[in-house]
């Protein structure tokens, strides 16, 4: 029970950390860390973020796109930035974990990308838990 409570408090701390990153950049609505198949590891969002953008179906679409992008002849794809009329979505692949950032269309894309890049050290630690040991 103690270790379970400890895990829960660590997760809460992680969520708070993601929340702090989110609120530091104007326009960022949600951050999701997931594995390569789109299964969420941790999610954090503001009320304005569409709920469906937090779902596995939305995140896993990136996996298909990234797989295809690897065949473009430009090496391995690291980041895909999709700009829509009302939202911007950034998917960054690092150490086997996908960082997804959802922002409004007004957010500065470079700042959104920087936010994802700042999460790389955190993701590096988390990746040890999700990477296939084989």
């Amino acid at each position: 029970l103690d270790s379970l409570l400890q895990e829960i408090s660590i997760m809460e701390e992680l969520k708070q950390l993601l929340h702090d990153y989110m609120t530091s950049v104007p326009g960022v609505l949600g951050i999701i860390l997931s594995d390569k198949e789109g299964i969420p590891i941790i999610r954090c969002k503001l009320d304005e973020c569409p709920d469906s953008a937090m779902k596995t179906q939305f995140i896993s679409a990136h996996c298909t796109a990234a797989e295809q992008a690897n065949k473009l002849g430009m090496g391995t794809n690291e980041t895909i930035m999709a700009v829509y009329k009302n939202f911007q979505v950034l998917h960054m692949n690092h150490a086997g974990v996908v960082i997804s950032v959802i922002a409004t269309a007004d957010a500065v894309l470079n700042e959104v990308k920087s936010t994802a890049e700042k999460l790389k050290p955190l993701v590096q630690d988390i990746s040890l838990a999700v990477i296939d040991p084989v």
């Binding site: 569409p50 469906s52 953008a53 679409a61 473009l72 430009m74 090496g75 999709a82 700009v83 894309l109």
Partner: protein, 135 residues
């Protein structure tokens, strides 16, 4: 009696020439293709450029995935453009009328420059492509 109707058509050489104008300052290749991946024209200064038909097919697939995703999960939102950051280069995919424009270059090419060139080229091609009714 056979009637020949005069129709506007694309001039392939002129189209290739227009696409080649984007191939400066880090941009290596420019492709124009239909949304189903059928290549219309391309221009490249890279002698080791990937097969343009493959690039067209893959880029259209990536566009289609994000386009459908936006409609399904972001309140019917419309995809404006895509930027891809790969180990060996940067890629931009922009819509032009009912076709897609793809520019790619090496890693020294900034995304701002890539986006600006793509926007300028897509604005230029919008009118001619709409006149011939590409679908």
């Amino acid at each position: 009696l056979i009637h020949f109707y005069k129709r506007d058509m694309l001039k392939p050489r002129a189209l290739t020439s227009v696409l080649s104008q984007a191939n400066t300052d880090g941009v290596q290749s420019t492709f124009l293709f239909k949304q189903d991946g059928t290549l219309l024209a391309y221009s490249s200064i890279d002698s080791e450029c990937a097969d343009p038909r493959v690039v067209a097919a893959i880029s259209s697939k990536i566009w289609s995935v994000y386009d459908k995703n936006g409609r399904a999960h972001l309140n019917e939102d419309k995809l404006q453009f895509l930027l891809l950051d790969c180990d060996e280069g940067h890629v931009a995919i922009f819509p032009v009328h009912n076709t897609l424009l793809c520019l790619y270059g090496d890693t020294s090419l900034g995304f701002g420059m890539l986006k600006s060139k793509s926007e300028a080229l897509s604005k230029f091609l919008e009118d001619p492509l709409s006149q011939i009714g590409v679908s």
